[in-house]
C-alpha cells in the first residue's frame, strides 16, 4: 500500500516533532503516511520474558500502563517528562526513535533497558538495538519505507532504575542532560549496570566507561567517585550551544549519576524493594 504513494513519503506517528519541523520549513516536501491509528502498532503486551510496546502507542498510555510501571519504571519517569499533556497524548516512542534527537527523553531509558526495535519494510523485518537507531542528530538508520513497529524490552532482575533529566524549566523542557540507569544491587554490589545519556553526544549513548567501573563492584564512595569522573570525562562528549555549555553538561552527567545511585540505593536500603518482585 505504501508503495502506491508516489514520490517522497514519510511515516508519521504523532507528529509532535515532525509538524514543528515542517512548519519551520526544515523538511523536504513529502507525502506523510499517518500510522498512529494502526491497531497493530498500538498497545502494550507482556510475555514471560519481555514487554512489547507498539511503536505508535502514545506516551500517556505507556505512563498509565501497570505493566510498564512495574517492570520499566525508568521508562515511565522519562515518558512523564516529555512535553505537555497534549504532547504526551499524541507523541509515541516509535516517533521519538525515528526523529533521532540526541535529547530524546523516550529513547534514553530504552537504551538503558537494552531495548530492541523491530523495523519492518513490507514483509521484511529486522531487529536493531535502540542505541543503534540514531546515527547522528536527526539522522537514523531507517531506510526508505522502513517502519518501526514495536519495541521489545526483556524483563531482567534489576532493582535499580532511574531516569533523571535537567531542562531549562520545570516542565515542557528539552533536556540539557538526561540519564537513565538500571542495575541490580545485591549486598552492596552492582551488576548488570546499564547507563544511557541524552543530550551530551550526537546521539543518545551508553556510558560504557562508567558502567565498567560500577559493574561487579561494591557501591563504595571511591567507586562512585571514579564512575562520576568517567561519565563526565570519558563518556560524555557534549557541545556548547544556546541550550547549555559543554562544561556544565559534563559536570551534570556526574551529578545525575551520583543522584541516580543515591536515590536508588537509599530506596533499596530502606525497603528492599525490587521492581521485578
Amino acid at each position: 500500500m505504501v508503495a502506491r504513494v508516489r514520490g517522497a513519503r514519510r511515516f508519521v506517528a504523532g507528529g509532535t516533532d515532525l509538524v514543528v519541523k515542517a512548519k519551520d520549513g526544515k523538511l523536504a516536501p513529502a507525502t506523510w503516511i499517518d500510522v498512529a491509528q494502526i491497531r497493530e502498532l498500538r498497545g502494550i503486551s507482556e510475555t514471560r520474558g519481555s514487554v512489547v510496546i507498539g511503536a505508535a502507542t502514545p506516551y500517556t498510555e505507556i505512563i498509565e500502563s501497570k505493566v510498564v510501571r512495574r517492570v520499566l519504571p525508568a521508562l515511565v519517569e522519562a515518558c512523564a517528562e516529555i512535553g505537555s499533556v497534549q504532547i504526551r497524548n499524541m507523541g509515541t516512542l516509535g516517533g521519538n526513535l525515528a526523529n533521532a534527537s540526541p535529547a530524546a527523553d523516550g529513547v534514553v531509558p530504552l537504551v538503558a533497558y537494552d531495548a530492541e526495535v523491530v523495523i519492518q519494510r513490507g514483509a521484511r523485518k529486522r531487529v536493531i538495538p535502540a542505541v543503534d537507531i540514531a546515527t547522528g542528530p536527526g539522522r537514523s538508520c531507517l531506510g526508505q519505507d522502513e517502519l518501526i513497529t514495536e519495541i521489545r524490552l526483556a524483563k531482567r532482575r534489576r532493582n535499580i532504575a532511574a531516569f533523571l533529566k535537567l531542562g531549562p524549566r520545570a516542565s515542557m523542557a528539552i533536556a540539557k542532560v538526561s540519564l537513565a540507569l538500571v542495575a541490580d544491587l545485591r549486598r552492596g554490589r552492582l551488576s548488570d549496570v546499564r547507563i544511557a545519556l541524552g543530550a551530551v553526544a550526537p546521539t543518545v549513548i551508553r556510558a560504557t566507561h562508567a558502567e565498567a567501573i560500577l559493574e561487579g563492584n561494591i557501591l563504595s564512595h571511591d567507586v562512585i567517585a571514579r564512575a562520576r569522573v568517567a561519565i563526565a570525562e570519558s563518556d560524555a562528549i557534549p557541545i556548547t550551544d544556546f541550550r547549555s555549555t559543554a562544561a556544565y553538561r559534563r559536570a551534570m552527567c556526574a551529578v545525575l549519576l551520583g543522584r541516580a545511585l543515591r536515590v536508588n540505593s537509599d530506596d533499596v536500603g530502606r525497603s528492599g524493594h525490587n521492581p521485578l518482585r
Binding site: P168, S220, H221, A251
Partner: protein
C-alpha cells in the same frame, strides 16, 4: 475616611468587578484580527534581509510573481508618501530603501490569494546585496572607527544627570562599591503575534484594524506612508492578545505594509506574522550594559552614586531615546543621594531594534543598582532591608533629578509592609547563622585534588552517594538553611529584597503627547457609551475605565460600555504605555462626565423636589441627602432626555507639567509609584538550578481602582520578572536571532511560578482619578534584582549578568571555589 460608613458598598472604586472582556476571551468568542476574513482578502508575506548590513543592489520579484495566486510584489518604491516611521527620530524605513541594517529588516512585500502562496513567493524574491561592515556590540559601536549605523557616532541619544560633587563624595566615602552588569534582549512573548488587516473603503478612507497598543501611532504612520490626510485614515484596535510594549511602535510597520498593499491592489490585505518572524524582526527589551558605583558613610548613609548606562538600541532609533530617558531618571534607585553623576547612551548596532517592553529601560538598570546595593550592605555589614529603609526617598525628599516629592509617597510604608509580610527578619537571621556555620565548615574542609577540572572544584561533585562530606550536615529546615529537598537533592535557601520607583506617565521626555480625550454619552435607557484613546491589551483597562465612568456618573458598572478603540472617536490621546491609561484616560472620562453629572443632578433635584446641592450620588443612584428612595440612574437619564438636555460630552486632559534640563535637573515625571519585592529562592547545590519559592510584592500605586485586576497585574509582572532573572534571553548569533520560537526561548511555566503575595499601599495622588497613580509596569522592575539578591544570599555570589542560568551560576560558584583554593595554597606557602 468618615464618609466610608455612609458610602460602604456604594462606590465602584476599589471593587474587584469582573473583567468586562473576560468572558469573551475565555470562551473564544473574542475576534482577533486573524479571525476576520473579508471577501476577496489577500494575504501578505514579508521578504526580510538575510544581511546585517548591506547595500541593496537589486530586488528581483519576477520568480515570485510567477507563483500561482500572487497578486503583487512591492518594494520601497511603491510607497507614495514618506518611507519613515514617524516616532522620535524618524529613521526607520517601512521598507528598506537602498540599505539594510539588520537581519530580518523588511525589504519587500508579497501579496497573494493564500498565506502559503505569499510565503512561498516571498522566498523566491531575489535580493542582491553588497555587504557593508557591521557592528554587533554597543560598546564596540562607541569606539572611534566603528562601522557607522547611525549619524557620526552611532549614538541615537545621550543624557546626563549631575547633582552635587561625586568626586569629592567618593573621596570622602568610608565604603565604595562598584561593578559592571549586563542584561540580554528579552522578548515580550505576547500570545498573539503581530497582525493587521487593511482595506480601502468606497469613499477612499483607508481602514486598518488589528493587534496594537497605540492606534494613534498607527494613524500617524499610515497617513504619512500613503500621503493621505489623517481624516482619510481610520484605525481600530481589535482585541489584542498582549503587548507588553511589543505592540507599541512596530505595529505601525505591519499596518503600513497592509495599508500599502490594500492601496496598490484595491483589495483587503491581511498580514499575520509567524512566531519566528515576530522574534526575528519585532521589538524587544534592550540589551544593556551598566557600570554602577555607590559611596556611603560607615553608618549606611549613601552619599554618592555614579552610573554609566548603555542601551544596545539596534539598527533604528525606535523608542530608544524615551526608553533611555526612563532608565536615566531612575538610574540611582529610589534613594536620597546628594551626589549623583549619571551618563547614559542609546547606541546603534546592526541588530534587530529593541523598543518598548514593560519597564521601559528600568529593569536593566534596576537589576544593576539594586544588586550593588546588596553588595554595599554586605560591605557595611548592614541588613539589606535596613540599608534601603535608611536611604529611602520620603515625602519632601529630592530625587536624583532634584524633584521634590510633594505628595503620594508610600515608599516607607511599602518597605514596612514588605518586611513584615515576607517574614524577613526571621528568615534573614537563619541565613546569617547558616553562613557562619558554612564559613567554619569550609575552612575545615580540604578539597581533594582530582584530575577532573571543574568537578574537583565543585565540592559536591567529588562526594559520594548520599554521603557528601557536608551534605545537609547540621542544617535546619526553612529559609536560609541548607536542606535535603527530597530525591537526594541538596539545596540552599536564600532571601533577597529590591526596591524601585516608577515615574507614572510619559514624563518630560513625552510631555508634548501626554494628553488624552474621552467621549461619554448617556443613552435614553440609562446605558452609557464611553470612548477613549487608550487600549485594552490584557491589563484590565476596560474594567478600570468603566468603573471610573460609573463612579463619575453614579451609573451601574454593568450599564457602561467601553467602545473598541477607534481613532475617529476621540482626538489623539497618546500611546497606551507608561502605566498612563488609568491616569490619563481616567481623567479624560472624569472631565467628560463632570458636566453630564451636573445636568443629571439638576434633573434629579427637580424630580426629588430638593435643591441640587442636596442631591447625593453613589453606585445606587441619585437621592436626596435627607434620605428617601434613590432614583435609579436609568430613571434620571430618561428624565434628562425628556427635558431635551445634553448628556454627551467630549472630555480632555493634559498631564501636569514636567521638566528635565541638560544637566538632568527637573520634575521628570508627574508622580511616582513605589515597589518593594522580597524573593525567596532555593538553589540546588549540585545543579545550580534556582527555584523561586515565594515572592512578596508590595506596591504603592495610589488608590487601587480594581484590586483583583491589580493583583493579576502584579502576579504577571513577578513571573515575567522571574523569567528575566532566570531563563529568558533572545540569543543572537552575531547578527541573527538563534532561538526565535517558544522551543528555544524559555518562558517560565506555571510549574516554575512561585507563591506570590501581593499587597497594596495606597498613598493617593491628588491629580489622579479618585487618587489613582499607575501600576502596569512597575511589577516587572523589582523581581529580577530581588531574585538575584536571594541567590547571592543562598550561595554567596553576585550575578552580574542576566539571566542567571544554572550554567552561569555554576561557573560563578566554581570560580569562587577556585579562587579560595588558590588563596589557601598561597597561604600554605
Amino acid at each position: 475616611m468618615a464618609t466610608d460608613e455612609v458610602t460602604e458598598g456604594a462606590s465602584w472604586i476599589g471593587r474587584s468587578v469582573k473583567r468586562a472582556d473576560g468572558r469573551d476571551k475565555l470562551t473564544g468568542r473574542a475576534k482577533y484580527v486573524d479571525d476576520y476574513a473579508p471577501a476577496g482578502c489577500l494575504h501578505g508575506a514579508t521578504v526580510r534581509s538575510a544581511k546585517p548590513h548591506a547595500r541593496i543592489k537589486r530586488i528581483d520579484g519576477r520568480a515570485a510573481c510567477r507563483v500561482d495566486g500572487v497578486e503583487a510584489v512591492l518594494t520601497a518604491s511603491n510607497i507614495p508618501g514618506t518611507n519613515r516611521m514617524p516616532l522620535i527620530i524618524n529613521d526607520y524605513p517601512f521598507l528598506a530603501d537602498g540599505v539594510v541594517r539588520f537581519v530580518g529588516e523588511a525589504v519587500a512585500l508579497v501579496v497573494a490569494e493564500t498565506p502559503e502562496a505569499a510565503r512561498r513567493a516571498a522566498a523566491l524574491v531575489r535580493v542582491d546585496y553588497e555587504d557593508l561592515p557591521g557592528v554587533f556590540d554597543a560598546r564596540d559601536a562607541l569606539k572611534p572607527g566603528a562601522p557607522r549605523v547611525f549619524g557620526e557616532d552611532n549614538v541615537f541619544k545621550k543624557f546626563r544627570v549631575r547633582r552635587g560633587d561625586v568626586e569629592k563624595a567618593f573621596a570622602e566615602a568610608d565604603v565604595v562599591v562598584e561593578a559592571e552588569f549586563e542584561t540580554p534582549y528579552q522578548a515580550q512573548a505576547y500570545i498573539e503575534t503581530q497582525g493587521m488587516l487593511a482595506e480601502v473603503e468606497a469613499d477612499g478612507t483607508v481602514f486598518v484594524a488589528g493587534s496594537m497598543q497605540c492606534p494613534f501611532y498607527v494613524h500617524d504612520a499610515v497617513a504619512a506612508a500613503l500621503g493621505v490626510g489623517q481624516n482619510r485614515v481610520r484605525i481600530v484596535q481589535r482585541p489584542t492578545g498582549g503587548g507588553f510594549g511589543g505592540k507599541e511602535d512596530v505595529p505601525s510597520i505591519v499596518a503600513v505594509h497592509a495599508a500599502l498593499a490594500a492601496h496598490v491592489t484595491g483589495r483587503p490585505v491581511k498580514f499575520v506574522y509567524t512566531r519566528e518572524e515576530d522574534f526575528l524582526a519585532m521589538s524587544k527589551r534592550h540589551p544593556a550594559f551598566a557600570r554602577v558605583k555607590y559611596g556611603a558613610r560607615r553608618d549606611g548613609t549613601i552619599t554618592a552614586c555614579e552610573v554609566n548606562y548603555i542601551l544596545d538600541a539596534g539598527a533604528y532609533a525606535t523608542l530608544s531615546p524615551a526608553v533611555l530617558f526612563r532608565g536615566t531618571v531612575h538610574a540611582v534607585g529610589p534613594y536620597r543621594i546628594p551626589n549623583v553623576a549619571v551618563d547614559t547612551f542609546a547606541v546603534a548596532t546592526n541588530k534587530v531594534p529593541p523598543g518598548a517592553f514593560r519597564g521601559f529601560g528600568q529593569p536593566q538598570i534596576t537589576f544593576a543598582q539594586e544588586s550593588l546595593i546588596d553588595e554595599l550592605a554586605a560591605r557595611l555589614g548592614i541588613d539589606p532591608f535596613e540599608l534601603r529603609e535608611k536611604n529611602a526617598l520620603r515625602l519632601g525628599d529630592e530625587t536624583a533629578t532634584g524633584q521634590v516629592l510633594r505628595e503620594s509617597c508610600g515608599f516607607g510604608e511599602a518597605l514596612a509592609v514588605a518586611r513584615r509580610e515576607s517574614g524577613w527578619a526571621e528568615k534573614q537571621k537563619r541565613g546569617a547563622q547558616r553562613r557562619d556555620a558554612e564559613t567554619q565548615r569550609e575552612e575545615a574542609s580540604v578539597i581533594a585534588p582530582s584530575r577532573l577540572g571543574v568537578l574537583a572544584l565543585n565540592p559536591v561533585a567529588g562526594a559520594g552517594a548520599g554521603a557528601g562530606a557536608d551534605a545537609g550536615a547540621g542544617a535546619d529546615a526553612g529559609a536560609g538553611a541548607d536542606a535535603e529537598a527530597g530525591a537526594g537533592r541538596r539545596v540552599a535557601r536564600g532571601i533577597g529584597v529590591s526596591a524601585n520607583y516608577y515615574g507614572v506617565g510619559l514624563g518630560a521626555a513625552g510631555k508634548y503627547i501626554d494628553r488624552a480625550g474621552a467621549h461619554v454619552q448617556v443613552q435614553k435607557d440609562g446605558t452609557v457609551l464611553v470612548a477613549v484613546g487608550n487600549t485594552e491589551i490584557g491589563q484590565g483597562a476596560r474594567s478600570s475605565l468603566c468603573q471610573i465612568a460609573a463612579e463619575a456618573l453614579g451609573a451601574p458598572f454593568e450599564a457602561v460600555h467601553l467602545l473598541d478603540i477607534d481613532t475617529t472617536r476621540v482626538p489623539d490621546s497618546g500611546p497606551t504605555v507608561a502605566s498612563r491609561t488609568t491616569l490619563m484616560s481616567g481623567n479624560a472620562i472624569l472631565d467628560a462626565a463632570r458636566p453630564i453629572r451636573e445636568t443629571l443632578v439638576k434633573v434629579a433635584a427637580d424630580v426629588l423636589r430638593v435643591a441640587p446641592g442636596a442631591v447625593m450620588v453613589d453606585a445606587h443612584g441619585y437621592r436626596a441627602a435627607s434620605g428617601g428612595e434613590a432614583l435609579t440612574f436609568q430613571r434620571v437619564a430618561s428624565e434628562a432626555y425628556g427635558r431635551r438636555l445634553p448628556v454627551a460630552t467630549q472630555g480632555w486632559t493634559v498631564a501636569a507639567p514636567t521638566s528635565f534640563d541638560e544637566n538632568g535637573r527637573g520634575d521628570a515625571y508627574v508622580v511616582y509609584a513605589f515597589s518593594v519585592n522580597v524573593a525567596e529562592v532555593e538553589v540546588d547545590l549540585e545543579t545550580f538550578e534556582t527555584r523561586v519559592v515565594e515572592v512578596t510584592s508590595v506596591h504603592d500605586i495610589g488608590r487601587v481602582v480594581n484590586p483583583g485586576d491589580a493583583e493579576g497585574q502584579v502576579e504577571g509582572g513577578v513571573v515575567q520578572g522571574m523569567g528575566y532573572a532566570l531563563c529568558e534571553e533572545v540569543v543572537l548569533d552575531g547578527a541573527a536571532v538563534k532561538n526565535g520560537n517558544f522551543t528555544g526561548y524559555i518562558l517560565p511555566t506555571m510549574a516554575d511560578s512561585p507563591a506570590i503575595r501581593v499587597r497594596f499601599v495606597e498613598a493617593p495622588y491628588s491629580a489622579g482619578p479618585f487618587g489613582a497613580k499607575g501600576l502596569a509596569e512597575t511589577p516587572i522592575v523589582g523581581p529580577a534584582p530581588a531574585i538575584a539578591n536571594a541567590i547571592r544570599d543562598a550561595v554567596g555570589v553576585m550575578a552580574r549578568r542576566l539571566p542567571i542560568t544554572p550554567e552561569r551560576l555554576a561557573e560563578m560558584v566554581w570560580e569562587k571555589k577556585r579562587e579560595k583554593k588558590i588563596g589557601r595554597k598561597t597561604e600554605d606557602r
